[in-house]
């Protein structure tokens, strides 16, 4: 399981390193610079889709600076994606604790994640509805109330055509 592998990697890394440069860098890097360092991006494999065709979404976070960066988030769910403003294409709110956490990047790190949108909206706990053809805005944002003001969001549009 990748999560175990990553936890393990983190553990060994944490065990052998001599100085916590991430913490040091966090302590000395000005806040404004920290936000500006992180580049948030969202893209799709195509512009136009047939109805029912899955939309491949690629979410990228990139640390532009050659120093480790940590960004405080309002939740351990560091980021979320939306379709027309609906989180994870769902009208049903998900229980995610709203305690602060930190999204960490090593120097010049690029994190890339994939999501799929099957052109369905979750309308209730147990129901999803296919969307109609039209234009949709896919966006990604760090989980911060001031994400838009800090530039920690990105969006793209796609078109579903019959």
């Amino acid at each position: 399981m990748t999560r175990d592998a990553r936890l393990h990697e983190r553990a060994t890394d944490e065990r052998t390193r001599t100085i916590d440069w991430a913490a040091l860098s966090h302590a000395v890097t000005p806040r404004a610079l920290r936000y500006r360092a992180i580049d948030v991006g969202v893209s799709t494999d195509k512009r136009r889709y047939d109805p029912g065709e899955p939309v491949e979404i690629t979410i990228t976070f990139r640390n532009r600076l050659p120093i480790p960066i940590r960004i405080r988030t309002d939740s351990p769910n560091y980021w979320y994606w939306t379709v027309d403003g609906l989180r994870a294409a769902s009208q049903v709110p998900r229980a995610v604790p709203d305690r602060p956490a930190a999204f960490s990047f090593t120097r010049r790190e690029r994190k890339r994640f994939q999501r799929q949108w099957h052109q369905r909206m979750q309308v209730s706990e147990d129901e999803w509805q296919p969307v109609d053809p039209g234009t949709y805005t896919l966006a990604v944002s760090l989980t911060r109330s001031d994400a838009a003001a800090r530039g920690l969001i990105d969006h793209t549009t796609i078109e579903i055509v019959d």
Binding site: A11, E14, R15, T16, T18, I19, D20, A23
Partner: protein, 315 residues
């Protein structure tokens, strides 16, 4: 295999090493260029009568093998003769200096454990938190600081500037408040690096053990967290620290040589340096022999303690 048989086998390996240590120490004067007599009397011009007497005393007129056996016999009975430089009895001199070094070394060792073990535990349990970061940086600094420099700084700050620890009255008995107070600075100087090593080692081995399933199992049994850490995790994590105990002793002896000089502490280390500067070979020989044997025996003891602590080792 029982613990007794393990100890027996371990002893069997130790005996040849002990012989090797004595042989190396013995060959010491013979490795010097020129005649061994010259070395023993300190490269002075001496009368033929004295030379003959020295030859007889150190059995230099006999084959090397016999010389070694005779020397060994003398060494076992602690007969190292007189120092040609000071004229004092070597055994008596060492006998006077040894307690001072043991007191300093013992105090530093205790300090190293008293700081290193709790610091290591805290750093491991609070890994990544500020306490851990500070501890880790301090440990790194502790390892990199030359003890003679640290000694000088402490001496300057606390003795010269603050005047807290003044010079030791020369006639103060070893067990006295004055001596204990005087020993504070040398002990800190000597113990710092050891404490740092112990802390680093314990931290990393505790981190490893904390991930083990038996820790979760111990929690699942309903043991209090204290018991889980101090009884289950620590007992396993301390094993690598025990293996360094022998090396720590060697490390402390090395440190004592320097630290005793800085603080004018009348121990074996200072005696060794003085003897080397004066080319007082019989004394050097005796000191090196005592240290070598002490460390061999200490390593034997460490192995036995390790076997008691880790039941897997006996099989």
């Amino acid at each position: 295999m029982s613990l007794g048989r393990y100890v027996g086998r371990r002893l069997a390996v130790t005996v040849p090493v002990l012989f090797g240590v004595t042989a190396l120490t013995f060959s010491f004067v013979h490795l010097l260029p020129g005649d061994a007599v010259d070395a023993i009397v300190g490269f002075r011009a001496v009368s033929p009568a004295t030379e003959a007497a020295t030859r007889a005393e150190y059995h230099l007129d006999q084959p090397v093998w016999d010389q070694y056996l005779l020397w060994l016999r003398d060494a076992i009975t602690l007969e190292f003769g007189e120092s040609p430089v000071t004229g004092r009895d070597v055994s008596a001199t060492i006998g006077r200096r040894l307690p001072a070094t043991l007191a300093l070394g013992g105090a530093a060792w205790l300090l190293a454990l008293a700081i290193g073990i709790p610091a290591g535990i805290v750093a491991a349990v609070r890994a990544g938190e500020p306490a851990d970061e500070v501890g880790r940086l301090a440990a790194l600094a502790g390892i990199a600081t030359p003890n003679f420099w640290l000694g000088l700084i402490l001496l300057f700050v606390f003795s010269v500037r603050l005047g807290w620890f003044r010079v030791l009255p020369p006639d103060a008995p070893l067990v006295s408040l004055a001596t204990a107070k005087f020993l504070v600075l040398p002990t800190i100087t000597l113990g710092t690096a050891s404490a740092a090593l112990v802390m680093r080692l314990l931290r990393s081995s505790m981190r490893r053990e904390l991930d083990a399933t038996y820790v979760t199992a111990a929690r699942a049994k309903g043991l209090p967290e204290r018991t889980v850490i101090l009884k289950h995790v620590l007992r396993n994590a301390v094993l690598p620290v025990v293996t360094v105990a022998g090396l720590q002793l060697a490390f402390l002896v090395d440190g004592a040589v320097v630290v005793e000089g800085i603080f004018s502490w009348p121990g074996m280390g200072r005696l060794l340096v003085q003897s080397v500067l004066q080319r007082d070979y019989p004394v050097i020989q005796a000191i090196v022999l005592v240290i070598g044997i002490a460390i061999v025996l200490a390593n034997l003891l460490v192995d036995i303690v390790y076997a008691i602590l880790d039941p897997r080792i006996r099989y």
